[in-house]
């Protein structure tokens, strides 16, 4: 699943939770129906076939809930997002440092900005190293 499709699916799942639950249920029901049909073809009575199909499937509601939960789950790895965020912060800090360098050097304001930028860059670098 591409990142774009995963994002679209994720948003759709949260916008239409009932639709997703119905879709999962249809899929699981289809499975039970197919198994029932196979059992009947193997010589069981329709009632016994249905019962056996439900038993071999396991806990229907638990399976349905697990599937819905996976569907609702966040599609991206949080550590990648965190790392992306650190990179963005580091880029901003780099930009701030560049701007600060171009300010008159005797200004306390430029010194302060440069120190802040250096601190943020250093922090991002250390966090980045720790994540590896």
């Amino acid at each position: 699943m591409s990142r774009v499709k995963a994002t679209v699916d994720f948003i759709h799942t949260w916008q239409h939770p009932d639709e997703i639950a119905d879709e999962v249920e249809s899929e699981l029901r289809f499975h039970v129906q197919m198994r029932t049909r196979a059992n009947i073809e193997a010589g069981m009575t329709p009632e016994a076939a249905q019962l056996s199909a439900e038993q071999s499937f396991g806990d229907f509601n638990r399976v349905k809930d697990s599937c819905c939960e996976i569907k609702r789950g966040f599609p991206f790895d949080l550590k990648h997002i965190r790392m992306g965020l650190y990179i963005v912060i580091a880029c901003i800090a780099g930009g701030v440092a560049l701007v600060a360098i171009n300010l008159p050097h005797h200004s306390p304001f430029s010194v302060l900005w440069q120190l802040v930028a250096i601190a943020v860059l250093l922090r991002s670098f250390l966090v980045g190293r720790r994540k590896q």
């Binding site: 999962v24 289809f30 499975h31 229907f60 697990s66």
Partner: protein, 110 residues
Amino acid sequence: MSKAKAGLLQGTLDMLILKALALGPLHGYGIGQRIAQISGDELKIEEGSLYPGLYRLERRGWIESEWDVSENNQRAKFYKLTRAGRKQLIIEEQNWERLASATMKALRAN
């Protein structure tokens, strides 16, 4: 192997699903059937447990699904392997072979 059907080792189900889908697109029920068929009916899978596995694999981008019409004209969700899934299957097969051969070596040691 004995007459009793073997339960699945942790993590094996994902590989078996990928393997079943490597042979062509299938719906969930068909995947269960194909796993039974390719394992010579030796592996015991609780049928419902296939589905969370399928959803997880789809979330990882290793398989994709679409609704279509089944062999008995019912609406069913079909799964197929993606390119990433095909690569993952090769990795899983290699890991499995390495693990199996190391385990056998350990068991045969005097």
